[in-house]
Amino acid sequence: MTAVTAHAGEKMQQKDMTRPLLEGKDISVTFGRGAEAFDAVRAASVTVHGGEAVGIVGESGSGKTTLARALVGLQRPSAGEVWLEGQPLFSAGTEQRMPRSERWKTQMIFQDPYSSLNPRMRVWQAVAEAVQVWQNLSGAEARMEALRLLNAMGISDDQARQFPKSLSGGQRQRVSVARALAPDPKVLIADEPTSSIDQSAQAQLLNLLRRLQSERGLAIIFISHDLGLVRYLTSRVYVMQKGDIVEAGKTQDVLERPQHSYTQLLIDSIPGR
């Protein structure tokens, strides 16, 4: 089944909704060449509308991060297209790259808080840089804005003056959230954003994301292995396995009546179950 059914589900969704904000059409990513070639993502199609939160779940190595990187223009797909607000941002067939002026609209929170921050840049500088790249602010203004964003994520001014190496894992993850939110994006792709923070900090972050979603119409693509989180936050979900989207639909339907055996396995593996 699956790839086909997933597509059918997708079409039905689109009929009664407005145009998607971000759309990935038949995206494939192949690493290596010739006999070594390996499809990390195969013809995956995803959409997200303004104010909507969709989930991507799947085992590690199934291609979630690679797909996300393709959607934000960090990874060149070998086939497929990315559309933003009805405009083609990227098409594998042409040499066209996502224009810089459009790129700020999609931001990503990276999975690995250890490698996503520049070790030679102070924490506030990393965020101020993101502020300045996308908003036209002076150095002093950008610094203020960076500190404000960091404070909102629970990073004190003292910690903001440190280099990433003296922050704990969870603190780094919060910094990367602040940096992603800096340009006030329209689409946020969050790759396991709560994997190293405690439950209460996670609750704070999710409340913040939900507020941005309802108040500013932020579209969220939420990648997580935590089905509890996905159930709570998202209205639709895609299930990936070995590079394919094997199941897609309303989150509640997928989690309550999984059609694919892999989805069932994921559900059975939740701790405390």
Partner: protein, 337 residues
């Protein structure tokens, strides 16, 4: 940990009132942990949970003697391991402990393997650190270790470099390296954080099985109480450099006696209704260098009163089935649903 029965034998590890500071010599000292307490028996499994930045990783580093490498050191308190005092022990002593007696899986260990070396080279390094092996023996031992951590096709994996392995596979190799010398205690700092649930489940049950096979005690650091509940007997909760609650897992999850522990439970997303805000602790985590006077949790605590703001961080005291550092621990009973 809080044993009601009288103790006949000494615990395997006992950390008492441990204080750790950054900065050495006469320079400015920045306390990062100032009241860590932890006790575990032979073969026991204890979990550590806490907010990020509360000092869990620094505590682990104190237990394997690597604080100096991170510009920090023990200021006061004791670390008794297997009858020996380790606080202030010289590097020479630590070399006999680290790896041999206490195995360690660091946080972010998925990035911790050297990408250019083969798995075999890295394992042989951990094994020959003990000294009594020839390279040939060490190679055989390495293959044996991979079998112990249930890696199929060991020969093939030995020749692989870490970037060619999946996250779950890499974590198994890290575990193999940590248990190579047959330690009495294994410390695992967030070992399943970057793994998806199915792999997480496999790694947790592997750790549990190894613990039984090798008669190891375990310290498992996790930000996820559900994970600790599944694997550990006891749990210790940290907030802002202090142990704030400790005791049997069941007691802390059913009837927490510190408001921070309770907050961890009520903010869990699996109880939440989609579309409604999650219950989160208001305000920000207390950051190192600006801990408030009195109980460190008071600026965020609904139960806080005048008494909470006085003096210093309250000590752990027995209450119900556990130890709690909340002076109003008894009032917590009223909050239980």
């Amino acid at each position: 940990m809080c044993q009601q029965k009288e103790r006949e034998i000494e615990p395997l590890l006992e950390v008492k009132d441990l204080c750790i500071s950054f900065g050495k010599g006469g320079g400015r000292k920045l306390p990062v942990i100032d009241a860590a307490n932890l006790s575990l028996d032979q073969r026991q499994a204890v979990g550590i949970v806490g907010e990020s930045g509360s000092g869990k990783t620094m505590l682990c580093r104190a237990l394997i003697g690597t604080l100096p490498r991170h510009g920090a050191g023990i200021v006061s308190g004791t670390v008794r391991f297997d009858g020996q005092e380790l606080a202030g022990a010289p590097e020479r002593v630590w070399r006999g402990i680290r790896g041999r007696e206490i195995g360690y899986i660091p946080q972010s260990s998925l990035a911790g393997l050297n990408p250019v070396l083969t798995v075999e080279t890295q394992l042989v390094e951990s094994i020959t650190a003990v000294g009594s092996f020839s390279r040939q023996e060490a190679r055989q031992e390495a293959a044996g270790l991979l079998e112990k951590v249930r890696i199929p096709r060991a020969q093939q994996v030995l020749k692989a470099r870490s970037h060619q392995l999946s996250g779950g596979m890499r974590q198994r190799v890290m575990i193999a390296a940590a248990i190579a010398q047959g330690p009495k205690l294994l410390i695992a700092d967030e070992p399943t954080t970057a793994l998806d649930v199915t792999i997480q489940r496999e790694i947790l049950s592997l750790i549990t099985q190894l613990r039984q096979e090798l008669n190891m005690a375990l310290i498992l650091v996790s930000h996820d109480l559900a994970v600790i509940e599944e694997v550990c007997d006891d749990v210790m909760v940290m907030y802002a450099g202090a142990s704030v609650e400790a005791g049997p897992v069941a007691a802390l999850s059913k009837a927490p006696r510190h408001p921070y522990t309770r907050a961890l439970r009520v903010s869990r997303v699996d109880r939440a209704v989609p579309g409604q805000d999650l219950e989160a602790i208001p305000g920000d985590a207390a950051s190192v260098g600006s801990w408030p006077a009195g109980c460190r949790f008071w600026p965020r605590c609904a139960l806080a009163d005048e008494a909470c703001r006085r003096d210093t961080q309250p000590a752990l005291m027995p209450t119900a089935q556990q130890l709690s550092a909340c002076i109003h621990a008894e009032r917590m009973a009223e909050l239980e649903q």
